[in-house]
Symmetry: C2
Subunit: 419 residues, 2 copies
């Protein structure tokens, strides 16, 4: 049950929006986007801003060896593990104002709102900025959260190099964020990450809140069709082994399979290169990328098996060779039903229209979920556009998400009535 | 009816083959192909070889202002227009030993065979090397033959520049082939061009001779599909406007249309570029080439109309924009039925298995046909491969083609029995 003394508590929407616009200047681009690559000078400036703000409020600030920033507000019961909030401050090379940083600034807003209202929580609250979620300067992404849960070894993470050969370790030292805390040492009771949806569903259905209960499994392939080059004018259709036409059939098969596993299945071919690439030559080879995603392990497995069967069928029917090389995969992941239920309850109590949904993209929450009960809150972004300078979200939706975050962590941490 | 005194006349197959191998050294590549770009030093060398050979036999050699070489053997009746044979000596940048030059060397072989046998023809015979059939160094191709028939103005042709800015006129002077004869001044009664098929039909049907009765019309398009870029993980299939999937449907529609206009219709997409070309982004745009060819004007028109209808249907169904920009076309062309019948008769009389067929590619004969009764002889090439260093044909087939050429021009020019 919501607590009577906090039921009407709300974050300061104007202050949240002002913080979003202020931080968008750290790496701000002419087109209204943000270029704030991990551990760059722009990243240092936004980190310094966040730390200064935290210190001004008297919160404890810890930095771990991979540069994750922990901003902790104490609870009444120091024996309880903290309830975490957070996301990331880094962006894509031509990113937007909301991806990642919304979850961090909303967490800061939660802490400051509680201070102003004089509300103490039973468990401590901890706002986290995870290092290098994007993976744009240093690969792989979700580096700080993966190191936190122990999926990636600290030494390996520190040795990752950018295109200029600079390591993560060197970059951390250069901007003053090579901390001393051991990643994973700080235990959390739960984590809630607020993020823009980066997809069009909430907007299309006129909903404000997505309660993210799962993340889609992902299977990436490098594909190739090998047929036979021949003269476009002199080779009859019946004697062709046209790699491009076989590829076209494969593409439509992938689409058909994804559609058959509706509504959550997706299948995408983002890249294709046609050889030899001459107007008058029947293509002999097409190389392409293919990926499938689905949140349900059974559907996910069937999509992959169906694609293999289609590839074999098309190869045989057209006398071409089709290879699908599985280069990376992530199994479907379920977030904590308890944390998700808490989020749904917070949305319902605020009268905010919401739906359960799955995340199609990877997030720090996906990594953290393997060690900590975790779920996510999505808010709409315009036209589903993200990883783009045109990325856009409204003050109203950002504030609604921050309020759901506030009441979710209050429920998870517990509110004291002893004051 | 075949003339008794010439019915068993045959060219010297070994000499023809030896000439093919000798001339393949002018621009010969390590992989066994030939790089002999129009009006290059290699082209000069092969031209000089041909002219020296012609002069040694006492033939008249004329060079016109576009560099076409005419090698004429006199007839008994100087009032009759010459019967022409010929093709081209230039090659693609990585071409083979047979494309073009077979038709020139077979013509030389015809002249020398008649000399050795002491046979005179009523009409003169004229072997022609047409300048720049390939269009690889200077565009467009079939330049010498198009100037001959007046489709391309001489001054415009001489002003064409290669990638280094050298004009055709400068290149002709540099290799000593800027002649003085006016292109088109030398009239022909007929022309026969022997060429490798550059396609797989004769080989597939185990035939030796193709009697080429027509050349396919060609329609070239630059195509574009514009959809909407979106996130591959978060955009449901139902909300996508995927340019690549629309392109795949267009490709298969083009294939279906070409197949429906069997056996002569062909449709090819040789080039496609996908934007933005990121593994995790639903493509927003695909640019591609498309071409259709058919020898029959009615079918040719219907193919184009059907493709337009398919493009409109797919664009509407997928909420994308499809544009098909017609950048070049050539109407279907019928060769002379009389010249084709003469070729068929020559093949039949030699017991060579033949079929009528259409040319899918452009040739000098296509240009000349607008002014002179013309047809072509095709012989098989291995796997239909051409414009490739692996281009290959057999001594037996080359000789068969040259014998059909011999007896075709004897029939067209008439044989004298007064000696």
């Amino acid at each position: 049950m919501p607590d009577a003394s906090t039921a009407n508590l709300a974050i300061n929407a104007e202050r949240l929006w002002s913080n979003i616009m202020t931080t968008a200047a750290f790496g701000g681009t002419l087109k209204g986007g943000v270029r704030r690559l991990t551990l760059s000078e722009e990243d240092r400036r936004v980190r310094d801003w966040l730390v200064a703000r935290a210190q001004a409020s008297g919160y404890e600030v810890g930095i771990d060896r991979i540069g994750n920033i922990y901003i902790q507000r104490p609870g009444r019961d120091p024996g309880r593990a903290a309830v975490a909030m957070g996301s990331h401050l880094d962006t894509q090379p031509t990113g937007g104002k909301f991806d990642g940083i919304l979850g961090v600034l909303a967490g800061l807003e939660v802490l400051e709102t509680l201070d102003e209202a004089g509300i103490a929580t039973e468990a401590p609250l901890c706002l986290v900025n995870w290092t290098n979620e994007e993976g744009a300067r240093f690969a792989p992404g979700e580096l700080g959260s993966e190191v936190y849960v122990g999926h990636v070894a600290l030494e390996a993470a520190l040795a990752c190099r950018d295109a200029e050969g600079v390591t993560v370790g060197e970059a951390l030292s250069a901007i003053g964020y090579a901390g001393t805390e051991v990643p994973g040492a700080r235990r959390f009771a739960a984590m809630v990450e607020l993020h823009i949806e980066q997809g069009p569903l909430l907007e299309a259905e006129n909903l404000t809140i997505g309660v993210v209960t799962a993340a889609k499994g992902q299977q990436w392939y490098n594909g190739m069709v090998s047929g036979r080059e021949s003269h476009a004018g002199t080779t009859p259709m019946t004697l062709r082994r046209d790699a491009l036409m076989a590829f076209a059939e494969l593409a439509l098969a992938a689409e058909r399979i994804a559609r058959a596993h509706a509504p959550d299945g997706v299948g995408t071919i983002g890249m294709a290169e046609v050889s030899p690439g001459s107007r008058n030559t029947v293509p002999g080879e097409v190389r392409f990328s293919l990926e499938f995603r689905h949140p349900d392990p059974d559907h996910f497995g069937r999509m992959r098996a169906e694609m293999r069967a289609e590839a074999e069928r098309i190869a045989a029917a057209r006398d071409v060779t089709v290879t699908l090389d599985p280069i990376w995969s992530m199994e479907p992941l379920s977030f904590s039903p308890d944390v998700a239920a808490t989020i749904a309850q917070a949305a319902a109590a605020r009268g905010l229209p919401y739906r359960e949904m799955t995340s199609g993209a990877g997030h720090d929450a996906c990594a953290v979920a393997s060690a900590v009960p975790t779920a996510m809150i999505f808010v709409p972004c315009k036209d589903g556009i993200s990883h783009n300078e045109a990325e856009s979200a409204t003050l109203k939706d950002c504030a609604a998400g921050a309020n759901v975050l506030l009441h979710s962590v209050l429920a998870l941490a517990g509110v004291s009535h002893h004051d």
